[in-house]
Amino acid sequence: MAVAAVIAFALLYLPLLAIAVSSFNAARYGVAWTGFTWDWYAQLLADERVREAAMNTLLLAVASTAISTVLGTLLALGIERTPWSRRGRSALDAITYLPVVSPDIILAACLVVAFGACRWLADSVGWSGAPFSRGLGMMIVGHVAFQVSFVALVVRARLAVIGSHLEEAARDLYASSWCFHRRILGPLLLPGIAAGAILAFTLSLDDFVVSFFAASPTSSTLPLVIYASLRRGLSPEMHALATVIFLGSVVLTAALAMLTRPRRDA
């Protein structure tokens, strides 16, 4: 048991360790250790292309997270608190879980085909197909499409924990709809919505394939920059960038773990 655990954690963390170490290695070419340096991080800050990609990455993550948090929360509320028929509910469940279980490459192919079809439709009625070409807009739509399901999943779990007793009690005590949502459901649901938002943000940063399929040359994100550079070979500057992204993931995962930690009060 311990052997399997050691191998598993080695497989998970050796590559991350290797990147972190290499990002401080003074060697310009190759990965053999020649000395300690901060140079690659300094270069990273000065790199115009990296700065632009960082802006794109953040813009994409923030915009898609904002949209998907709203849509996902409404979806969760709509599914949980409406008297759907059994078949209606299972159809909704199926559509909602589709992005969770599909390999990302299928989501990406579907997005490309959807935008292709929209372009074709726009062309055939004489409109400009430009809004449906590759770029940041298409990337945002693609990210929202998979984030929405995860947000709904997290918020639904929270709704299930809250249950309907409190609402029944509030209504019995003549709470208005506004009062109930503002004073009771809102505060109880907020940790769930926050966890959903952080998960959506993490997923956006974690994504490569959907962005890769939807990006235009001017809308590269940081993972796309690393990928393009890796295709040409290893570069210490990219190791520094990868280390920064890794640290970001650690912070986000920790925040997520704190928010979704099972609590006694709920």
């Binding site: 559509i95 693609g142 930690r261």
Partner: protein
């Protein structure tokens, strides 16, 4: 008692008519479901339809029905039969199968190890599994490219053993792809297995021990059957992303060890052959649904 439209219904402590409640419901889910329909459900149907359409000279799509794309996937190209595509399909299934099995072999004991800790330690260990999971795959693959490069110990060992030429790296190649796949798929296996192990009914295990069952028989009859649905879920949840993997084979496998994900990407980009790309995507979609169906079956049988 039959309910008529307009009759009041009690829902969440509040009286309302069913049509009104339904209208609110539709309003709430409208945005998200509309988006999913446009970006996922309808395109899935389009993809399946597209795989039966003809491709023009310059990559344009012709509204002409054909089964040519499936024939091309099976190797019947314009230059006679070649096994190239079939090899890629078979290799993808093989790599996904091997990577999934290895991930399960590592994740199963790990799930028990985590479940046996105190709650605080469980949280820490689960977070340790989740952190790489939440780190971009390109970053993690970059790490493997460093570890397997020609100047470090693993490559030196392989060079000394005569497995690779002096000065060469351990990638691109089959080994590197398998390693990268297991490393990236492991969390997919650990998380569902952990939920299954955590819910184990220990009374059954204690009963088996009281009845002097050997450790093997305790495992075989009291533990394994209880974790079977979890194993099924873990298998599907690992295999499905494995079969569509793109980054790992692209960076660690190179052109000589292409998988179906790379083939798909090629059709939508360099080759500009959407119908063939759609045929490949349809195959992946079918495999995904098959995987989900098997899990549903397993879980229903377990209940």
């Amino acid at each position: 008692m039959t309910e008529r439209a307009g009759d009041p219904v009690l829902s969440h402590g509040r009286l309302g008519s069913r049509p009104r409640l339904m209208a609110t419901g539709w309003l709430l889910i409208g945005g998200a479901i509309g988006l999913l329909l446009i970006t996922l459900v309808i395109p899935t149907l389009l993809v399946v339809g597209l795989s039966f359409l003809e491709r023009g000279e310059n990559g344009e799509i012709l509204l002409q029905a054909t089964t040519g794309n499936i024939a091309r996937l099976a190797g019947f190209g314009s230059f006679g039969w070649s096994a190239d595509y079939l090899w890629i399909l078979a290799r993808s299934l093989w790599v996904a199968g091997v990577a999934t099995s290895l991930s399960l072999c590592l994740a199963y004991p790990l799930a028990f190890l985590i479940a046996a800790r105190t709650p605080r330690w469980r949280l820490v260990l689960l977070a340790l599994v989740a952190i790489p999971f939440c780190t971009n795959l390109v970053v993690r693959t970059n790490g493997w490219m460093i570890l397997l490069s020609g100047q470090l110990a693993p490559a030196h060992l392989a060079q000394a053993a005569g497995l690779i030429d002096a000065g060469r790296a351990l990638y691109p190649g089959a080994w590197a792809v398998h390693l990268g796949m297991v490393s990236s798929l492991l969390p997919f296996a650990v998380l569902p297995l952990y939920t299954a192990v955590e819910r184990l009914d220990h009374a059954l295990i204690d009963a088996a021990r009281d009845l002097y069952a050997s450790p093997w028989r305790v495992f075989r009859h009291a533990v394994l059957p209880q974790t079977l649905p979890g194993l099924g879920a873990a298998t599907a949840l690992t295999f499905i992303p494995a079969i569509g993997m793109f980054v790992v084979p692209d960076l660690l496998g190179g052109s000589s060890y292409m998988l179906v994900g790379n083939l798909l990407q090629q059709q939508f980009f360099t080759s500009n052959d959407w119908p063939l790309g759609a045929a490949i995507a349809s195959l992946l979609i079918a495999l995904t649904f098959l995987g989900l169906f098997v899990v549903r079956r397993l879980q229903r049988n377990a209940r």
